[in-house]
């Protein structure tokens, strides 16, 4: 901690300083609260919405359990049951599990890291509103008999236009694709937030474990989600325009969907589990009043789990006819992932053993998690063995396994987290007495509901059947499961009562540190975070420095007010958290809300084929984004003193800028998506080499060469444009000309490539090869449109005097995107023109 004698700022603080800080960060009143972008407000909204979807999906589960309680039941029709189980899985996975974790991140991270807010508050608000609007519309399809019914993983050919002709599958594909974009926006916010807005001195070995898990969670989203975004794009293009990616008769392959889906789907399990594990790693030390045992080992386990989880996807496909040796590689990897998971479990047990556990509600939920998750992990090792999986695949054994993993590994820690952190955001803590009853009901109900499913599965009951005949003798076990489900639901209902009774969300004067916890979120917080930001030298600052709360409230530490009259936070270096510059943050505004609503409208209107209206909404959405971006990248101000004579600049460019980091993360998303595409292209070639053209049928080589030259030329021109950015003695003319020329070169390269393929007689709907070639152009086209929009934006800013040699973040980001697009374009040309020549 900061030396007890010399503090960064002296007392008394100016009388108006605190009032000004409060005014700047004030939450808009009434219905204007939808314009707020502050992390606490958005985090609370986000969490509440995720819980709403949890309840809705839970009600669907109860309907399913009612239907299965007795044999030959007619409570639900087959189609209604299909829609309900599809929506239950989809909503739980996409609208609850991932969003609630992001929500907790947005709510907790700034307070935990000592930041005033995350670095992109409007992006966080956009992600939330997009999720809320998109999620509600998606869920609403259930009431109009329009919901998808192909299962939460939507395998083709069942989900193809031939076997699912209605709009249900389209709602899934476009709706989920859209919500994934929102998840990626949240992930970018979290990565940059954790790496760049930690309190001064908070090195990586002092970072709260929840922040570590959120960092790895967000990193996994960056690499996992693009695979399923690509898959949804491919299937939607097949459904809408007959591009045969998954149609075997024309060289496609339905298994391609499974590869892409599970390359996302398996990491998804760990995407959900790791942050929950992070919550446990925060709760256990507090409840045992002792530091976490094996901090470094846990970080190792988290990183290893993050990576290993990407090598397991094929274990969802053990019954698809993949060669035995291949299956064995993935079987081995599936068992290997038990190692890092085991490290974490033993670290928690060791922490409990080294301290004295208090029997609070969060502790009970953590213990429940340890029991249930360990059982789920053990059955996971069982299904990782290929011969066992062949027997248990698609039975209720698997249903039992993944509910033990997901509910045990995520829902129980989440409830522990609700009880643990409620006092930090509410005037009252949740009831300990009710909490213990809730735990008992949930723990007993869960096991009564799901343990018998292992047995029904082993007795041969397949998952997803809407009913079964009495002769199968599954009725007793199913009735027990139904009773258990209602017990579990009773626990959750009492939790809602507790929430209504006790939870009083507040920005300040909360119940406070009732557990005696050690991390920064337990300091007196307000809507602006901490009154002043301390330098951190310990992983448990509140235990090591008991006077910290008072010092911070007095304003003795860094940045005790607002220096520039705007919302601000300190940007620090990613590893050692050295202060680097003062970031001015945006305040409330309509644009994130409107942009999210309009983008949601674009996607949903497309689903119902209202193309013109969809395009209007899309364009208006882009206009809102432009308005939002226009006010960002503020003019540099002279350096400011944040305390201890530490003068920080108010503007940063290049790799110092938080915006540069966000752009890099976005490019990793784009790169990951394109690599998934390259995999798909090569995969379909291995399956159907006969549809790949002979040399004579290929477009002449001159076309791709010209395209490639244009791409390289464009990059060079843009670099020259960087050197002639407007300045004191230079107008924007040369810059505008060169930037426009670079954009034209990029567009030209794409147009030439598409024309070459068209003139060679290739059509996207003819076979899988044609579809894949035009898909490369589609992906390149998306980026080209983004580059054109950003170029226009940069040109407009240069005319308006908002872009010059110093104030140039907009151009830096354009440069990064442009060069990436060129790289992707060159790889695409090599693949679609070079590979057939090599393979042919």
């Amino acid at each position: 901690m900061v030396d007890a004698v010399s503090y960064p700022n002296t007392l008394p603080r100016p009388s108006e300083e605190l009032a000004q800080l409060e005014a700047i960060w004030a939450t808009p009143g009434g219905w204007r609260i939808v314009t707020d972008v502050n992390n606490t407000v958005i985090g609370l909204f986000y969490t509440a919405t995720a819980v709403l979807f949890f309840l809705l999906a839970g009600i669907l589960a109860l309907l399913m359990r009612l239907q299965l309680a007795v044999p030959s039941n007619t409570f639900l029709s087959q189609e209604a049951y299909n829609q309900i189980f599809t929506m239950h899985g989809t909503v739980m996975m996409f609208l609850f599990a991932v969003p609630v974790v992001e929500a907790m991140g947005i709510l907790l991270l700034p307070q935990m890291l000592g930041a005033r807010d995350l670095p992109f508050p409007r992006l966080g608000a956009y992600a939330f509103w997009a999720y809320l609007v998109g999620g509600l519309i998606f869920f609403g399809t259930l009431f109009f008999d329009l919901a998808p019914s192909g299962g939460w993983f939507m395998y083709p050919p069942l989900s193809s236009s031939q076997f699912s002709p209605g709009p249900g599958a389209d709602f899934w594909l476009l709706g989920i694709g859209f919500i994934e974009i929102s998840a990626i926006a949240g992930a970018i916010e979290i990565i940059v937030g954790v790496l760049r807005t930690r309190a001064p001195g908070m090195t990586l070995d002092q970072m709260p474990m929840f922040a570590w898990t959120m960092l790895i969670f967000a990193g996994m989203i960056v690499f996992a989600f693009p695979a399923v975004i690509l898959a949804t794009l491919l299937l939607e293009l097949e459904r809408a325009f007959n591009w045969p990616f998954f149609i075997a008769a024309r060289g496609g392959d339905a298994l391609l969907w499974q590869h892409l889906f599970w390359f996302f789907g398996h990491p998804e399990v760990y995407i959900i589990f790791l942050p929950a594990a992070g919550m446990v790693s925060m709760i256990v030390p507090t409840m045992c009043a002792t530091p976490l045992v094996g901090y470094r080992l846990i970080v190792v386990a988290l990183i290893a789990t993050g990576f290993f989880s990407f090598g397991l996807w094929v274990h969802h496909m053990f019954t698809t006819g993949i060669p035995a040796l291949s299956l064995s590689f993935f079987s081995a990897a599936s068992m290997a992932v038990a190692l890092p998971s085991g490290i974490q479990v033993f670290a928690w047990i060791a922490t409990i053993a080294s301290g004295r556990l208090r029997w609070t509600t969060p502790s009970l939920f953590v213990l429940g998690f340890l029991v249930i998750f360990s059982l789920g992990g053990l059955t996971g090792v069982m299904v990782a063995m290929v011969p066992f999986d062949w027997q248990a695949h698609d039975t209720y054994f698997v249903v039992a396994h993944f509910h033990y993993v997901l509910v045990g590994g995520m829902v129980f820690p989440l409830f522990a987290a609700f009880y643990y952190w409620a006092p930090a955001f509410s005037r009252l803590a949740l009831s300990e007495q009710l909490g213990k009853w809730i735990f008992l009901l949930m723990f007993a109900g869960f096991n009564v509901a799901f343990f018998p499913m292992h047995l029904t599965g082993l007795m041969g009951m397949p998952r997803r059947v809407y009913t079964y005949p009495a002769v199968m003798q599954w009725d007793v076990l199913n009735m027990i499961s139904t009773i258990g489900a209602f017990l579990l639901a009773a626990g959750i209902a009492i939790f809602l009562v507790d929430v209504v009774r006790s939870l009083r969300p507040a920005m300040s004067k909360t119940a406070g540190n009732v557990w005696g916890a050690a991390t920064l979120e337990w300091l007196p917080n307000n809507v602006y975070g901490l009154r002043s930001i301390p330098a951190v030298t310990s992983a448990y600052p509140l235990w090591h420095h008991p006077q910290l709360a008072k010092e911070i409230e007095d304003g003795r530490h860094f940045l005790p007010g607002s220096i520039t009259g705007l919302r601000e936070t300190i940007v620090t270096s990613p590893f050692d958290a050295t202060p680097q510059y003062l970031l001015r943050l945006p305040g409330p505004g309509w644009t994130p809300f409107l942009a999210a609503v309009l983008t949601a409208a674009f996607f949903m209107l497309l689903t119902v084929k209202a193309v013109v209206l969809a395009l209007i909404c899309g364009l208006l959405g882009i206009a809102m984004t432009v308005v939002w971006m226009w006010g960002s990248d503020l003019k540099p101000l002279p350096p400011v003193d944040i305390g201890a004579n530490l003068k920080l600049p108010t503007y940063a460019t290049g790799s110092l800028s938080h915006a540069w980091w966000a752009m890099i993360v976005l490019l990793l998303v784009a790169g990951s998506l394109y690599l998934s595409y390259v995999f798909s292209y090569l995969y379909l070639w291995t399956v159907s080499p006969q549809v790949w053209p002979r040399l004579s049928a290929l477009a002449p080589i001159a076309y791709p060469i010209v395209s490639a030259l244009l791409l390289v030329l464009g990059s060079a021109i843009l670099e020259i444009a960087r050197r002639v950015l407007p300045g004191r003695s230079r107008s924007s003319g040369a810059f505008v000309g060169l930037a426009g020329l670079a954009a034209a070169a990029l567009t030209g390269a794409l147009v030439i490539d598409v024309l070459a393929q068209w003139r060679a007689g290739l059509r996207p709907e003819s076979d899988a090869h044609g579809a894949m070639v035009y898909m490369a152009a589609f992906l390149q086209g998306q980026l080209t449109i983004a580059v054109l929009a950003m170029t226009g934006f940069a040109i407009a800013r240069s005319f308006a005097g908002r872009l010059d040699r110093k104030r140039r973040v907009a151009f830096d980001n354009l440069g990064l995107l442009y060069h990436y697009t060129v790289g992707q374009g060159l790889l695409g040309l090599l693949l679609v023109h070079g590979f057939p020549r090599l393979a042919g």
């Binding site: 990576f307 290993f308 040796l325 064995s328 081995a332 590893f575 050692d576």
Partner: protein, 116 residues
């Protein structure tokens, strides 16, 4: 690019390298099986065995190289504290885990014929 940035990037690569090497090894042997084992049975099996052996040697060499860079950095900056030292420790342990992961991946080839 500042020296601090370069150092941070170096640390980051050292942390990411071991699990990345494990992942590349896994995808190489998996992809090789898909591509090689469609050929004539005898020749394909031999080629596959060689591919697995080569990929494993390459992965182990890469892990050793990562370990060497860690020891070099420890020798160069024996007094370094904070994130760099922490990440070097993390990287050491990840090398061990990745080594186990690679051993685990090739274990099936001991029990199953190549191209099974």
């Amino acid at each position: 690019m500042s020296d601090t940035f370069k150092l941070s990037l170096g640390n980051l690569l050292q942390v990411l390298a071991p699990p990345l090497i494990w992942f590349l090894h896994l995808t190489t042997v998996y992809a090789a099986e898909a591509l090689i084992c469609i050929g004539p049975a005898g020749a394909a099996a031999t080629m596959m065995a060689w591919t697995i052996a080569l990929a494993t040697v390459a992965a182990l060499t890469a892990l050793l190289l990562t370990a060497w860079t860690l020891h070099r950095d420890n020798a160069r900056h024996p007094q370094s504290l904070g994130s760099s030292r922490f990440l070097r420790g993390v990287s050491h342990l990840l090398i061990l885990l990745s080594l186990l992961g690679i051993a685990w991946t090739i274990l099936p080839t001991v029990f199953l014929p190549t191209c099974a």
